[in-house]
């Protein structure tokens, strides 16, 4: 599975070991995030630093996770690369998510 998680400073850090978060893995990713939330992780940081390309299905998985959290806890995105940031800006999803340059800063930011 191209996803891993670890706990750090009260956050669950989800990392993606893929350069493309696209329709071939987005459903798997959504299920993985839902499992994290169902298992009690309500402060999530998704490390996007390796992801060079994301399509609308990858974005949809993140939106689904944010909806599932229902306003409880936090879901932060860290390390988004230019093409990924562009997708968030194009779709106005940058208004929904807290996007932070790095995992370290996401943990420090309150």
């Amino acid at each position: 599975m191209p996803f891993e998680s670890k706990s750090e400073a009260g956050y669950t850090i989800v990392s993606i070991d893929e350069t493309r978060l696209d329709a071939s893995i987005s459903e798997l990713f959504r299920v993985y995030l839902f499992d994290q939330i169902d298992n009690g992780s309500n402060n999530l940081v998704v490390d996007l630093s390796l992801v060079r390309f994301m399509d609308s299905s990858g974005l949809g998985a993140l939106v689904a996770a944010l909806k599932k959290m229902g306003g409880e806890g936090k879901l932060k995105l860290a390390g988004a690369q230019p093409a990924v940031l562009d997708l968030f800006n194009l779709t106005s999803m940058d208004k929904l998510f807290t996007i932070i340059p790095s995992v370290a800063e996401a943990i420090e930011e309150k």
Partner: protein
């Protein structure tokens, strides 16, 4: 109006989502022959991926063993992309529905946050022209992007 001379290439994959990357990488390489900026190349890649995924998901219902064809036409001032399938045609009303720019999102209304169905809207907002043609059993999504000379 005189037709611009250009070069064309035709790519073909089997209808499997993992194969979309092959098309994406090939189109990126072809875009490198143009004056498109890195941001524009990323956006062209995104559009191609969205439409190829649509063909696999909606025309073929995720069923493998069907053909998705991508034609790339490079002219002096225009990049043409044609994505064709031989499956279930798209509801042409969908294309018109996405004419408007990407809708603003209301952070205070989670019920309205879309988890899917953004692909066509993104494509329509990024490409200069899009159209959908049905010719017998062949369905083609045609899009083009102006290139600086």
């Amino acid at each position: 109006m005189t037709a611009e001379q250009g070069q064309t290439v035709r790519l073909e994959i089997d209808s499997e989502l993992a194969n979309t990357t092959l098309i994406a990488m090939a189109v990126r390489g072809l875009c490198a022959m143009t004056t498109l900026s890195p941001v524009e190349v990323n956006r062209v890649e995104l559009c191609v991926v969205e439409i190829v995924n649509n063909a696999i998901e909606h025309a073929y219902g995720y069923e493998k063993g069907h053909k998705v064809e991508v034609g790339v036409g490079l002219q002096k001032s225009t990049l043409h992309l044609t994505i064709s399938d031989w499956g279930k045609p798209m509801d042409e009303g969908k294309l018109g529905a996405g004419d408007s720019p990407v809708d603003p999102v209301d952070p205070d209304d989670p019920a309205a946050w879309l988890c899917s169905g953004r692909g066509l809207t993104i494509v329509q907002s990024l490409m200069d022209k899009v159209e959908y043609q049905i010719d017998g059993d062949k369905n083609s999504f045609i899009m083009s992007k102006q290139i600086r000379s």
